[in-house]
Amino acid sequence: MNFDPADLGWLVPYLILVVAGMLLVLAEAFFKGHDRAALVGLAVAGSVASAIASIVLYRQLGDHEVRSVMGGMITADHTGYVLSATFAVSTALVALMSPAHQREHNWALGEYYGVLLMSASGCVMLAHAGNLVTVFLGIETMSIGTYVMVALRRHSKRGNEAAMKYFLMGAFSTGFLLYGMALLYGATGTLDLAGIAHKIPGTANPGLVIAGGFLLVVAFGFKVAAVPFHMWAPDAYEGAPTPVTAYMAAAIKSAAIAAMIRLFAGALGGDIVPFGSLGWASPMVVIAGITITVGNITAVRQDNIKRMLAYSSIAHAGILLVGLSATGLGSPTGVSSLVYYIISYSVTTIGAFAVVSYVGSKGRERLHVDDWAGLATQHPAAALAMTVCLLSLGGIPPTGGFFGKFLVFKSAMDVYDGQLLWVVIVGIVNSAISVYYYLRIVTAMYFREASQPIVATRAAGLFFVMTLCPVLVLELGILPGWWLKLIGG
């Protein structure tokens, strides 16, 4: 393995996050009390700088140029930089909406921002992973930070339960992850993702590859909360502070999918003798279909908005898995559709959680659907923002969510012989179900009257997120051409 210091240049988005994260942990000692504006500012500046660095590096690369740096540990390509910019922007938005929630719900711990950025650095590493070791490191960096953030509300019973569940499940899935990686290493003798892809066709032990692939499906199933590995998600989402929930739904899930793109579409993307690429794609597509269905049907029964959004995010993970399976089965547009979906889903879900965070205040979260009755009369802008985000989650045009689904399903339809037609039908029928529960919130907001005034959180950062996200959602849906060009679709 040869190390060229110039390679560090390709890692700047990652390094900025790490450095800013460490600075934040130090700075926390100097900014005591409730005034955290400086911490928030540093966190946002760090994430935005990282995003800008990603954009700059993106422009350094030619179309379809893939550079393997740091001895193959890191892959620098367009997909990676678009994703790492997305994660950094998500982190910035989450950081912006956090101080208001901390203030209103009394969990003002300064370490939070440092942990957030370090966890985000794990996400960025996953976007560029070129080696099983970087995949593992990225997953762990990202997850450990999140375990901490979920547990930040120390005095909340739900928060503790959520953190415990999330941590145990996460640790358990790490076992699967390592075991899967070990088997892959055993079969191919290399940890390098490109090397694995190269060695698999000639491997003497296809069984090990298949078994390793299955274990990795399970491990990542936990990470993205795919059914039947999703049990932790609703509790963790509900118990975590709302900005952290937004971060989990947007960045963590997307980063896990990014790692899956690297691992499954990259390393395991070729034909595995004698099973073909069906080695992992066929269980994954079944999992995808079940995930979409279970996620949506369970969401219908939820009255708690955070739990509803948690199940909805499970369903969305299912759609992402459809795109991934399509990639595995040879769809040429699979990866770009996934990247687009990640961008639009991140923006949408952060917007939705920002409104959730806005509606609650002074220790009262107002998570029950009934608490939202009459929001449109009292806070029309928030209701409108939520409606746009919910329509996008439901996949109704002209929103980014619709177009994301369109791209993913199109890539699934591109698979030879219409093999994935059934899962497209499942996905689209489920969209109708999802519309039902999303519209329940819209119905509550617009069609019912409030029994008492809704005292919302007032904070500039939160307002900004609540304005920016719906606008972006509409922009992504109406003019997706620019984004498509960006991600090479």
Binding site: T377, P380, L391, I396, P397, P398, F402, F406, L407, F409, K410, M413, D414, G418, L421, V424, I425, I428, V429, S431, A432, V435, Y436, L439, T443, Y446, F447, R448, P480, G481, L484, K485, G489
Partner: protein
């Protein structure tokens, strides 16, 4: 092309209006109403300019505006009109200001949001009428769903929550299955054409015929979406709920314009894209249409709630439109389009009339009225014209469309070379004709209950006749109904070329088993019929080997 900017402008003006209205202060209700009226009126005037550029002798799409929307996916912002859609667009822009004028006053809460919803709705509806791109059409189709949901849900009646959700879910389920079919056509087309270019351009998509079985499924998916919208008989249950709970403005637009998308969608998308599928499903569709005509009429007769009565009358009247389309004769299709225009005017007018009564008396029950003529003579006279127009009195608009679609159905067996699409056309035509009689009965019954008889309800004593504003709504409407009935020629002439082209394209597809292009390789032509299809009597294509026999042959064989 001259005037190409007109159609995007028709979509853009209401959208700009909506944004403009939303940005004004919340309390200025009359300002919002004024703005809404202004923008819709401007849009109407702009839509009249279409007629200036529209060439009757041209059977192709006109005023085509085409820009690439999403490169890579082949989605274009492509709009255009032909004889089938041009008057539907004008119907929309015509009804919109009248609706706002007629019902604006009765909306008192959230006026700003109301006007904005109506404007977005208008943009969506016009967009869906003029779209020539499947992706654009789907987007517009969904865009009009949400404002209507809000209209019912926010400004609706007692059971508005139930009705609004029912409306959305019904429409959603249908349109999402259509989306699956859109995906299928879109991807299959790209795989079939030589350079594998993805496109959602309708004209391009039509050039490649899908395999026989796929057409059956895809047509079913499209037809389900459209049949729900029409609504066709067993799928109509959302309509009475939606109508009863919707505010008057919602009802007028729902019945006047949105139901037309069902039939329009069949004509523009489902049948041209999947001609074989259409042929297979035609018997079922036409029989359901006839059931709907008669069932709707009977149920309408039994209603006490006037809005419900008119809602069921819509089920009945839209049945004529579907029947006319599947008769596949020039008369039938023209009649169907004309009946849509007439239905838009008359049913819109009926709902506006009920709105007038409801505003004064706050009830829609027939039993609460009687003898209103003496108090509101002007309104009664105008409402009579609308009622008669709806019932199909000759010299009013309803007659032309219904007559033509029944006539077209009746003669469906005599047109060659296309085999008859519907079973027993004469029987279906005759049954549909009874629907006209029933229609006259329940409508006159309603009119009699409301306007004739003794003025025996004390509350009706204080009814005031139409105000100037309301006269401004009803007089143009009645004039339009009258003009369409007396002099339908310009409209029928304008649609004639497009309808003939529609039929000719269909003949070209149906007489050859896989359409003219033969780009799709999955179902090879049986050698016996290749090239000789037109000479084989009857010119029904043989199903490719291994395919099940065609249902149309089993059920069909009506008047030969």
């Amino acid at each position: 092309m001259p005037g190409a900017f007109l159609l995007p402008a028709l979509i853009g003006i209401p959208l700009v209006g909506a944004i403009f209205v939303i940005c004004t202060p919340r309390a200025e209700a009359s300002l919002h109403r004024g703005l809404g009226l202004t923008f819709t009126t401007i849009n109407f005037l702009v839509s009249l300019a279409i007629l200036k550029y529209f060439v009757k002798a041209n059977d192709d799409f006109q005023l085509v505006f085409d820009v690439e929307w999403i490169p890579g996916l082949g989605a274009h912002f492509k709009t255009g009109v032909d004889g089938i859609s041009v008057f539907l667009v004008i119907l929309t822009t015509f009804l919109m200001p009248l609706t706002l004028l007629g019902t604006g006053g009765s909306i008192t809460k959230h006026v700003r949001e109301f006007i904005a919803s109506m404007l977005i709705l208008e943009a969506g509806m016009i967009g869906a009428f003029v779209a020539l791109d499947l992706f654009l059409f789907y987007v517009m189709w969904e865009v009009m769903l949400i404002p209507m949901y809000l209209l019912i849900g926010i400004w609706g009646g007692q059971r508005r929550l139930y009705a609004s959700i029912k409306f959305v879910l019904y429409t959603m389920v249908g349109s999402l299955l259509m989306l699956v079919a859109i995906f299928y056509v879109y991807v299959q087309h790209a795989h079939a054409v030589p350079d594998h270019v993805y496109t959602t351009d309708l004209v391009e998509l039509k050039k490649v015929a899908l395999p026989y079985n796929a057409q059956i499924w895809c047509f079913a998916a499209f037809a389900l979406a459209f049949a729900i919208k029409v609504p066709l008989f067993p799928l109509h249950t959302w309509l009475p709920d939606a109508h009863v709970e919707a505010p008057t403005a919602g009802s007028v637009i729902l019945a006047g314009v949105m139901l037309k998308f069902g039939v329009y969608g069949l004509l523009r998308y489902a049948i041209p894209l999947f001609p074989h599928g259409a042929q297979v499903w035609a018997p079922a569709m036409s029989i359901l249409a006839v059931i709907g005509i008669i069932y709707g009429a009977f149920v309408a007769f039994a209603q006490d709630d006037v809005k419900k009565l008119i809602a069921y009358s819509s089920v009945s009247h839209m049945g004529f439109c579907v029947l006319g389309v599947f008769a596949m004769t020039i008369w039938g299709i023209s009649g169907s389009i004309f009946a849509m225009l007439s239905h838009g005017l008359t049913t819109g007018g009926l709902f506006l009339g009920i709105g007038v009564l409801y505003e004064r008396r706050h009830t829609r029950r027939l039993a609460e009225y009687g003898g209103v003529w003496t108090k509101m003579p002007v309104f009664a006279g105008l409402f009579l014209i609308i009622t008669m127009g709806s019932a199909g009195l000759p010299s009013l608009s309803g007659f032309v469309g219904e007559f033509l679609s029944i006539f077209g159905t009746f003669n469906a067996g005599d047109t060659l070379p296309t085999p008859d699409w519907i079973p027993a056309p004469r029987l279906l035509g005759a049954l549909a004709a009874t629907g006209v009689i029933f229609g006259a009965i329940y409508l006159l019954f309603m009119f009699q209950k409301v306007f004739f008889g003794k003025l025996d309800k004390a509350k009706n004593g204080g009814l005031k006749d139409l105000s100037g504003r309301e006269l401004g709504v009803f007089i143009p409407l009645c004039l339009a109904i009258f003009v369409l009935g007396v002099y339908p020629k310009p409209i029928l002439e304008s649609m004639e070329k497009s309808v003939i082209k529609f039929r000719a394209e269909l003949d070209a597809h149906v007489t050859e088993p896989d359409g003219p292009a033969h780009l799709y390789g999955a179902t090879p032509l049986p050698p016996t019929t290749m090239g000789g299809a037109a000479a084989v009597p009857p010119p029904v294509a043989q199903p490719p080997a291994g395919q099940p026999p065609r249902p149309v042959r089993q059920i069909g064989g009506g008047a030969k």
